[in-house]
Symmetry: D2
Subunit: 323 residues, 4 copies
């Protein structure tokens, strides 16, 4: 059963995030010490289906530990949703003598692995990589801390011009359905209001504040992307209650996905990468490695619930500072 692993296949899938290369470095180093080969698969499941495999060396990855993006590239694969696609992927794994797989990606990536496990019995380990921090089973996903740092460095710049003009600024940050980036970047830049998807479209309190805004200072609103609270919607509501307000919008966009990873994300990548290989050596399979309360933690793919809830302490801070 516990046959020796000789060749681990690695791929990144879904949206890229800073720290993915650090995780690859962590994996490579421990694999090397344990005499295990590692093989990179390009563009996620697409490369698996296309047979796009090539060997990776720890010494090459060492030079990429500080780079954003993913050197293995990433993609979404429609073909992998079909049984034909998955069979082809399996064939290429077998032809390349891959006897374990480590995937760095999000929710969708792990669901893909779960489906794949129906026809493929090599062990899978997942590493949570997404800037949205919306995966249960880990306090931090790879890339979240970097995205927040990128967001706040840009919001700091916006504060310079906002304060020079005493303007209202609405800054839209990423996060899909999760308010994590907005809460963290809003609190840490001294935002006057923070709107997150979890709180829905209720921002009457903000309108109350703005109604009496006297332009004697800057006024900063940080909002998550999302249908009910996006920057444009909030802007139009503000203008309804205070038509004369001098207001500007900036949507930070994809800059939040790139850039050299922060120290925390590099460490997290290394820690999770190391643990992923160790888990394989301990015959673990079909689990995601994460960090809960600063301890390494394994969550079976089939127990994963998507949403990582904004916790009580954060909600209280949001009430205190963002309202």
């Amino acid at each position: 059963m516990n046959k020796k692993i000789k060749n681990i296949g690695l791929f990144t899938s879904g949206g890229d995030s800073p720290g993915m290369n650090a995780a690859l470095y962590g994996i490579a180093k421990v694999a090397e010490i344990n005499g295990i080969k590692i093989t990179g698969i390009l563009k996620g499941y697409e490369g698996m289906i296309n047979g796009d495999f090539s060997p990776l060396k720890s010494s090459d990855l060492k030079k990429m530990v500080h780079r954003g993006g993913t050197l293995l590239k990433t993609a979404r694969s429609k073909r992998f949703l079909t049984i034909e696609g998955r069979k082809l992927a399996l064939k290429h794994l077998q032809e390349n003598n891959i006897d374990a797989l480590i995937a760095i990606g999000g929710d969708g990536t792990f669901k893909g692995l779960l489906t794949f496990s129906e026809i493929c019995d090599i062990p899978f380990i997942g590493i949570p990589g997404t800037i949205d921090n919306d995966i249960s089973g880990t306090d931090y996903t790879l890339g979240f801390d970097s995205a927040v740092n990128t967001a706040i460095e840009n919001i700091d710049k916006i504060k310079d011009t906002a304060e020079s003009h005493n303007r209202v600024f609405i800054v839209e940050v990423m996060g899909r359905d999760s308010g994590y980036i907005a809460i963290h970047s809003g609190l840490t830049t001294g935002a006057d209001a923070i709107l997150i998807p979890e709180s829905g479209k209720d921002f009457i309190y903000l309108l109350d504040k703005v109604k009496n805004y006297d332009s004697e200072d800057a006024f900063l609103v940080v909002v998550s992307e999302g249908d009910e609270i996006g920057a444009e919607l909030v802007s139009s509501k503000i203008k309804e209650v205070n038509p004369n307000v001098d207001l500007r919008i900036t949507k930070l966009g994809h800059v939040q996905r790139g850039g050299n990873p922060s120290a925390l994300d590099r460490m997290l990548g290394i820690r999770l990468g190391v643990e992923a290989v160790k888990s394989l050596l301990q015959s673990k399979k079909n689990v995601m490695v994460g960090i809960l309360n600063n301890q390494l933690h394994l969550t079976p793919f089939n127990e994963m619930v998507k949403q990582h809830q904004v916790n009580k302490e954060l909600h209280e801070l949001l009430e205190l500072f963002g309202k």
Copy 2:
């Protein structure tokens, strides 16, 4: 005629830009050495009309040399467009014993001074401060180099994610009617196409390129803001010729206006600030100090043509790299 100047009034006007505080520091230091007081006027012409004056010290400004924004705040003033407004401004200048004025701002600021000179005979000196680099009489305006550096740092991040996904990215930068920021930030990030207002809405060559784009690499377009070439327009045109392209838009927005100034902008601020005071001491008036071919240069307000034309060398580079 050449009576000794005892108290220089300083203000910033129009859009803020990184380096304005460095210019104030430059002014303050030389003024101090020459035994001249300096007085800050808050919020540009608005503060002049409101009588919002306060003394400035070189030692305080030294601590602000590296900060973005303008500590004197800035605003656009409708009241200054009226003769009543200007008379009130004059009254407050006289009451505060201001016997010279240095203004940091753009085209509109200097036009304001020119009009003001009809009723006010104290000497005015202008310092060009705008990220758009669109003022004639100087090769660089204060804030341009910082804005370009901010733009390219963010575009570098976008390249990480663009290359991880092999995506088309359209990044919109500022510049109003001027393509300077777009040319500089596009060339220096290896953009595959660069669109500037000066070239109008002609981007057939871009569409030709994209028509055959095979998604085997990232494809980066840097466009100026503007009605005829904004990111959305370019995006819709691209989708017409290649509907399947995986495309994202990021509009960098006001982050380009803030942040600590670059080394060049700080030096430029100090150089122009020093020259502004020296010019006053040499009985110059109603001129803008600028840098032409790396030499300090004075341009009378009434000879200023707005547009700083994109020069021949830049146009050739644009042809070579952006097409």
Copy 3:
């Protein structure tokens, strides 16, 4: 006993660290909501002895949340070590109607409070602020994450030149007796060797590696400051075993203490600041607020052991990557 707190005195003491201003902001905001005044004491215990007190406003602190250093300034106080000094400090606290104190600082700061508590019965709360991460009772001290981020951004730069020349580089980082900064910055930059004080002067393994170093790549050593492992000592030992090696030293020094705080440090500052006030409202006294396993945690001053030990997981990573 549980009399209502009306005026909290705040001060920073010992070495400054990024995030101190964010903690002040966190304190100020919660205090304001609870109708409590806050009073800043300049330069730590020195200001207490000198009577250097002034009121602070949450709206002013909001503008400082992203700034490095401490707006309250900091100092070491010899006079506070004397009973006369402490009596004078107490007198000024009483004159200023301070009925609670929150101190941000390190080990020595809290020891000072413990001694002070012998004559002063107003409640004290401590917030751990030091880049060294060497305080027990918290997983992170304020400033540590920022210091590591500053270190790795600079080491990334050094890697550019090291790889261009295939040179050996020894980079010395801070940390006093603690290897935390060295481990984190070494692992996350792909260092070939990491030397920390906890491991003492044993670096034979490094010399073995360097003995056979063939100059076909860069070789990066990250060392902590310290008598037994400082950069110069390591350099001379390396030159003994491989005299021809092309070697350079960079000691990052005090840049690690400054700069805008990272997202994590700003959040940590806010979280600890909020908890400090809440603890006072719950009649806690003479405790330090910290974060253990991502949960807020109180440690009585008299139970604090100085050293925060490098944990088992980190030691294993050090073995894997740094040797």
Copy 4:
């Protein structure tokens, strides 16, 4: 005589500097458009002697335009100083059908080319690359602006901690025999004193200032490296006149050589790279391309004087601000 160039050899030599990769990109793009192949030579003259040649593609270089260091690596070559070494280099150039050479480097690199021209008649073009800005014939060398920006970002951080403690800080920057980096980084960070090699060991004025320094504020000294004014020497002199001063030293070191190039250096690299190829197409040889007063300018190698003198305006600024 003016035979068509088909294959340009490229190499970087001497100390690396940010912007070298951008220059390679500029060269590659123009060469490609003109149907000229480009060949990279690794490690400068060493690679030429070793026969380390490989073709370069413009599309690969496009991805490196924003990276620090040099992808061609660099080295100093003792063998090239010998006639045997140069003959071997020539042989490899001929075997690889190199019919023109572009070198990016400093003074020593160009002297090497001049000597080489005695036995090798293929045209040489030089591009000035060094952070020291100490080459005549150009106002800016590649890497200087990036080095200054790195220096000031780090000095800004040091100011945070200096002002928190009211300390004296001596920051040593690079520049070899040239004070350019010191003047620029000192002026733009509000230094209280700036010491450069050109002014020699005369810093009595600094000692006069420090003698009466009352520790009521930070005091920042920026010094160039160099025997007569290095940080340690200045420190010991200061302590002689004011033994109680709380003083710290930071030597920024090699961080100044690395990091992503600034916007100016990337543009400069592209401009000089393009001009280098154009010069070859116009049958120019044995000249360095530079920027004088913002215009492209060619200087024959045999007319180059090493030192780029600190100009009059800078000297005046130094007098005003640094004393």
